[in-house]
Symmetry: C2
């Protein structure tokens, strides 16, 4: 006997039935609209990339590619990877056309990304991500714009500054501080400390202490206190010639733009392997969903891999799963996602009227009214009940009398109210009805 196939999607991926797809599209459309309002243009590429694109940063990267991505050999003996992030792709595309592009380039994309990991809340094997990047501007005005865009992405869904906090840090502040206060200059030790600090909000204090004490030893208490300093005090810890003020200026500029839910956090470590300047991360501050929503920063060397002069960039990414969790936690999806069902069902009284019904439907469709025809062999009462169940708002029953008189009746299912007239009148009537919803 033949084994029956499973109807489940592949582990760690999702099926999007129309009701989920509608939420997904609402999120993507709002992302797109916000990015475009800032003058960002959309790009995309294939999910399949040559694996070397991810391996080129050295042995550690190679391990990451081998262990945490979907990588395989194609029939032409090329090693290919399902992209785990979009930045290498966008760097490749920028490098490819750098002589034709007019900088600064402001681009966004909404790619799906694959990571090989154990599925858990907010972390699936496949997710979609809004990626916004600006290339070609070194000045902190670009960092400011990018953080303002990230802030606007959240507020465009109706979130308020009380719902989230923006944390900011700078990669060089970390290394300068470790050198000036603790004499630590070894890059691998700095990276190790950053990875430990990255866990700070996810595990208990004692665990962080247990991990850091072997490194900073008797200085742990001092080290731990300094992590909680505000930006002005923290900068004072550095040798005077290294006390750069970019973070202070960025925060001040954002305050001037009306964005005040931004704080310096010396322990913020997201993407330290990756970013070369400012880093920022947005956290949900609700108790139920106290998580990272979005991360970004400045990178100044992405296009070097392609044998070209570096182009500076600043950008961020935010995932669809965390976005949806955030919107649900804060009740921001309610009333926002329209029904995906047709608006009007044309119901022929008998099968022989199916084509007449389709003709009428075509008139409504050409006026942008979503119209389906009930071509099932159900009884008329059943058809009406089903239209209602399926979320349709109006019905129009077509019988022989209606065809003869060319007078039809549109019925609103929610209150039973009716409107009778010729087709063109009814088209106008429905256009007005839909507009007023």
């Amino acid at each position: 006997m033949k084994k029956e196939l499973s109807t489940e999607p592949y582990k760690g991926t999702r099926d999007f039935y129309p009701e989920d797809m509608a939420i997904e599209r609402y999120i993507f459309d709002t992302w797109a609209k916000t990015a475009e309002s800032f003058g960002y243009e959309r790009y995309d590429a294939s999910i399949l990339e040559p694996s070397e694109l991810y391996k080129s940063k050295g042995a550690e990267n190679e391990e990451l590619v081998n262990e945490q991505t979907y990588t395989f050999i194609d029939r032409g003996d090329r090693e290919v990877t399902l992209r785990p992030e979009m930045t290498p792709t966008v760097a490749r595309m920028i490098a490819h056309k750098r002589r034709e592009l007019s900088f600064p380039v402001r681009w966004y994309s909404i790619p799906n990304l694959f990571r090989y990991e154990r599925p858990q809340r907010g972390r699936l094997r496949e997710h979609w991500q809004l990626n916004c990047d600006m290339f070609g501007i070194d000045a902190i005005a670009a960092d400011v714009e990018m953080i303002a865009l990230a802030y606007n992405v959240l507020t465009s869904f109706g979130a308020t500054p009380d719902d989230f906090v923006i944390k900011i840090n700078h990669r060089r502040l970390r290394s300068d501080w470790l050198e000036d206060q603790y004499g630590i200059t070894d890059e691998s030790v700095i990276a190790q400390i950053s990875r430990i600090l990255d866990k700070k909000n996810k595990v208990i204090e004692a665990e962080i202490k247990g991990l850091l004490e072997p490194i900073v030893q008797e200085n742990y208490e001092k080290f731990r206190k300094e992590l909680d300093l505000d930006v002005n005090s923290f900068v004072q810890l550095l040798n005077s010639e290294r006390q750069h003020s970019s973070i202070i200026k960025i925060v001040k500029s954002l305050n001037e733009l009306g964005i005040s839910n931004i704080v310096f956090d010396a322990s913020l470590s997201r993407g330290f392997d990756y970013y070369t300047g400012t880093i920022f991360e947005i956290f949900d501050i609700s108790c139920e969903n106290n998580r990272s929503l979005l991360g970004g920063g400045r990178y100044d060397n992405l296009t070097e891999l392609f044998g070209d002069e570096p182009i500076s960039g600043v950008g961020f990414g935010m995932g669809d799963v965390t976005m949806r969790d955030f919107l649900e936690t804060h009740g921001l999806l309610e009333g926002k996602v329209a029904s995906t069902a047709a608006v009007l069902s044309i119901i022929p009284m008998e099968e022989s009227l199916n084509i007449e019904a389709q003709k009428i439907a075509q008139i409504f469709r050409s006026s942008n009214i979503k119209t389906s025809v009930d071509i099932s062999d159900k009884k008329i009462g059943k058809k009406i009940a089903q239209a209602s169940e399926a979320g349709l708002q109006y019905i129009l029953v077509v019988g022989g009398d209606e065809i003869t008189s060319q007078k039809f009746t549109v019925k609103k299912l929610s209150d039973g109210s009716e409107q009778t007239g010729g087709i063109n009148e009814l088209v106008k009537f429905l256009i007005n009805e839909i507009r007023s919803i």
Copy 2:
């Protein structure tokens, strides 16, 4: 020395720079709008599926999966495939929720699909495809609606019935004809003949003859003539009890709906391994792009694989590459794809005014005017020239005087005309300008 990375995309895939992405989005948006106007709801799923989903139809299918798809083993020892088509996925999803869904189900999707083949014009390794399906209606009214939807997909881009032809056939007409006229009943021989006929329009007549003569032998001339018969004459070739008239009815119904560019073609063979009833295919009839644009048909056994009773379905698929070729061939893209650049560039006179410029930009953005701020360190003349090059339509220069007086000037780059006023006046001005374009 480190080898430099290539900036090319993976073979057979495409990078979508903003200008290409805009065309792609125009195509997807038009597809979506047309499908939704018929009451079809959008769904999606992951591009990764368990390979068994494609292999289950028997050994021949297994060969196809192994040779023509991207299939690999994941780290959990599961065999996975990058979907080569959407139908098995939608069948899986329908089977998974069949008890909750209200039939008929009308669904559409715009997935990307992968096939391992040699890239050639119109055939890449990755392409996107509009898939429309209706499940749960046996009656030919569903076939009629599906073909009407396919027709509307093309006309919604501005195509006219003179640009394309719809060809229609029925799987059972083929097998009944071969049995009644030639005594051929072996399914594998019927499949072989169908594969040969599928090449009919792609190769010279002599090649078809060479392939068919060994099968039908001395009957070849008769066989060849019968292929060119119209539907009424062709049906007469069958034993009287098998002369079903569904094709005749479908064509007649479509004619009543005003669709007259539809013809019966006894040699049409697309998807004969797959469909169980009506099949149809749309061809571009221009000489430069004489190709298949869209194919579909009825299948009545898709969900059987999942151990459930069969649900009948009818659907079609059409690719983005062939769609774009068709639109370009017929000049149907001209003037249809909007610039993706921002509409307005706010240009600060000096760096210290960047934040003031961003503040002003926020006011325009909140009225849905795409606004970028020129935060580069270029000279003012250079900034204006660049805005023009990048396709922006309006500029607003911010200097100290403007900040003091709160009077600003918007300049239209195409004709140099100017409008001066407070920010709110200028927002209203631009909203009207954009609306009138």
